[in-house]
Amino acid sequence: MSPSRNALSGPLPDVAADAGYAAPPERVGFFTDTSVCIGCKACEVACKEWNLVPEDGLQLTGMSYDNSVALGADTWRHVAFIEQSSPVDGDLRWLMSSDVCKHCTHAACLDVCPTGSLIRTEFGTVVVQEDICNGCGYCVPACPYGVIDQRPGDGRVFKCTLCYDRLGAGMEPACAKACPTESIQFGPLEELRERAAERVQVLHEGGVEQARLYGHDPDDGVGGDGAFFLLLDEPEVYGLPPDPVVTTRDLPDMWRRAAGAALALALGATVSFLGRRP
């Protein structure tokens, strides 16, 4: 069943075309293979350098080696560190993962933006036009991943642009270029999905049974992510929602129920007034 125009949920094979581009290039995105992340944070620094994102906090958090805490207006790549030790045999595992805006197929931030500041680019990515954003903040609670946020002192929202300006010049995003181990891979989304599936299989064959993909599935609650991941444990372990859903998915249903409730109310009111004694 082909998606209807402006669908709010469900698989959407060509986001850019759906957004109105006549002959868009192939959709691009990120495949972040956390199994080879060495936690160096070159991605965080490269992103801030390229995009002139301000420093946002000189405070030791105690969250392992993670002092960036979470994605936000001033952190567009965030490396999470999760220390795990088995109480039985003392086996240690230290998971590291570079989180980023998911550039969802169905991007709730984009859907709720009242000014049209948030747009879908020809590359299939989601970008904030800072000169239009009025700081209303509607997009902030809409994002199922808690990515987009308002910059203190500024009021507008900021997030990863997938280096839109670099893409236009035929270059890969800064974080992908800086990553020394190719944990962050950039390219056509289809190709990344194939590569990722192969990588999971290799890991499974090598005994790493907990390896799984996250955000790769076009049938998931956001229609699949433009930036998806290979994780070595449950998403919650990484601070990721296990079953993200585009918040606007239920809008038609909500309006139907609201309409139904209104109808019921109207019916009830009519009945109660009709049955009134003169």
Binding site: G39, C40, V45, E55, L60, L92, M96
Partner: protein, 861 residues
Amino acid sequence: MAEAHPVGFQWVMEAKRRGATVIHVDPRFTRTSALADQHVPIRAGTDIAFLGGLINYVLENEKDFREYVVAYTNAPAILREDFEDTEDLDGLFSGFDPQRRAYDTSTWQYAGAEPAAASGERDTESDTSSADENRDKESGRGDRMGAAGAVSARPELDETLQHPRCVYQVLKRHFSRYTPELVQQVCGIAPEQFHFVAEEITRNSGRERTTAFVYSVGWTHHTVGVQYIRTAAILQALLGNMGRPGGGILALRGHASIQGSTDIPTLFNLLPGYIPMPHAHAEQTLDTFVGSDAGTTGYWGNMRSYVVSLLKAWWGDAATADNDFCFDCLPRLTGNHATYQTVMDQIDGKVLGYFLPGENPAVGTANARLQRAGLANLEWLVVRDLALIESATFWKDGPEVETGEMEPADIGTEVFFLPAAAHTEKDGTFTNTQRLLQWHHQAVEPRGDCRSDLWFYFHLGRIIRTKLADSTDDRDRPLLDLTWDYPTEGAYDEPSAEAVLREINGWGPDGRALSSFTELAADGSTRCGCWIYCGCYADEVNQPARRKPGSEQSWVAPEWGWAWPANRRILYNRASADPAGRPWSERKAYVSWDDDSGRWTGPDVPDFEADKRPDYTPPDGARAEHAIGGAEPFIMQSDGRAWLYVPTGLRDGPLPVHYEPQESPVANPLYSQQQNPARETYVHPLNRYNPSAAEQGSQVYPYVFTTYRLTEHHTAGGMSRGLPYLAELQPEFFVEVSPQLAVERELEHLGWATLVTARSAIEARVLVTARMRPLRLDGRVVHQIGIPWHWGPNGLSTGDAANELVSAALDPNVHIMETKAATCDIRPGRRPRGPALLELVEEYRRRAGVTERTGTEGVST
């Protein structure tokens, strides 16, 4: 490696992708451990015991690569009868002089070898000789590569390896007590894990497979640092992994291009290309300087050509055969001018001036208080750096000002701060530790007054020479006769770095750039600033600037950059073929003999004379490279073999021994000799040592600490803590402790802690993490504390410096300090400020009974 060399670590990840097994041995579980197949937690300071255990495993189980060992190592060499091992003398080798704390190494020699010619000729009457210089005389100039200087005879061999005094048997006996049980007792490594490693590395070595070791400062910053490397070299030589693809021992270093700064050295005792600096009271002429090498085998036999070519590069036309090519113009050593001795001399008022280009000893060098005491006692100090580092500002806001020990008005040192250009603002090279030179191009002009180091030293020299131009004083001739004529360009008159590179490469009598150090002559017709770099500008091409992509050339990729010597990528690669010149296996083929062409062939430059047949036998009286046989791959050694046993060149033993660090809570289980008897210690109120396990009071400083780096910062933080994007990644100084230690000392996660040694006390935030693990040694538990050493009081992210805790106790061969294993106490809460800080440190010393003698014994009593 992932922490300190994240970009280089991508190749480890690539190897892993191709099926390599990665084993990480480290006191802490780091980001490297997270990606390794196995992490082996080890007590800091005990790697010799661990590697010794592996050597014992290989020898006991006969898992050595026997053909390689017999043909290519000195395993068959027979030693003198009067050699005594540590097994005979409870931790000492024969020849130790307790008064001088040095060895007479004559009993270590091969049977029948001549004693060190150098020591016979040295002038023993020297009023400026220090203990170190005496040791130099005795030990045959260990700073020389391959230590070929003092061994002139070929050893007698027993290729059956049965002779009781052959190196192989001596090795077996020496390491016989390094059993898996001992490894557990010393290192805290469980036998199961030890066996895993032993089986992995032996399974993966031999004809078909090779195993590589990678180490860095965790092996070098010890009072037995050189012996750490030696132990790995013995193991790798026994396993046949040296000179072979995928084998070897890769040394990672602590700074970008520090390899270059020993090649073209900033070290006191070396000239370019590892030629030793001459001493004031020895080697009065060029002849006597090169004399001991004239008769040696190997390429050091050509030392005269290298030295004369260097002198011609520096003094040009003024250097002629008549004046020994200005050999007299070279500065001379009068003793030990290593950095710690220099600091002691500064404190004694013997040093007038000091240059600190890109160096920050006020927080970045061991025993920071000692360093600052030296800096405060100069006439002048020049600091060149990217920002106002602590070494430039100590005089107004350093810790001694806070405690009241120093008053800025009373500090006589006049400090000049000159801002430096960054690497992106100038041309030049980086030399990596695989000896690879890579050119970097200036991308932007430096701003304001920032200038490159090349600009600074060139124009400083130019100005001084101008001021002295009319001098008739002989003393000024060396300076005035120097060639100092690099072309300059641009608005700042920047000297051409490329011209410097070309001079380093050298040119011949026709003025054309040379292609190889084999072209260097001893008659003054060639100039060359560094013989091992000769060829880097061959054909008038800036070879280090080459960037041919790997995909467009062989897997060795010789056209990316340029490696010394001769663009050779794997040293001693003759060893990748058997004595007959055939590869040990197809899988590990690298360099091999092609009989048809009469040459060695392969994807790399053969580390051998290209046309020397495998069956070549040197005639009697052969010299230099002609004295090396066709099946002797280790061409820089006088006997052409890899040395399992080092007869000459080292100050603390021909074989590695497990000694405890200078400060340790553990008594050496192997011998009564607690620490390295030849280590260098300094007696000074600012350099008191904690008592060690053997001594009373050691329980006052009961915990082991080790210092290390985080990816986010660089060295003492001068280049990272002032940058917001890096400062925010690791914003505060912290120490890492195990949950068990946290309970024992009542430390809270994210709380404050104070750490104390006999030197000083610092404070840090606490990270409680299971990645730090207590170690079980023989029934007792040893706790280790992890201390990143990036902090200091200047910058955006500030904190106390780990080097406040560290003492000056040095490896005797290379004068490197022990920062990787020491002891301390830790307690909750912030440290006192002002004079109360000194009181706290003093109180600890009193309780521990620390005196000026504590920890300074050579031979343990």
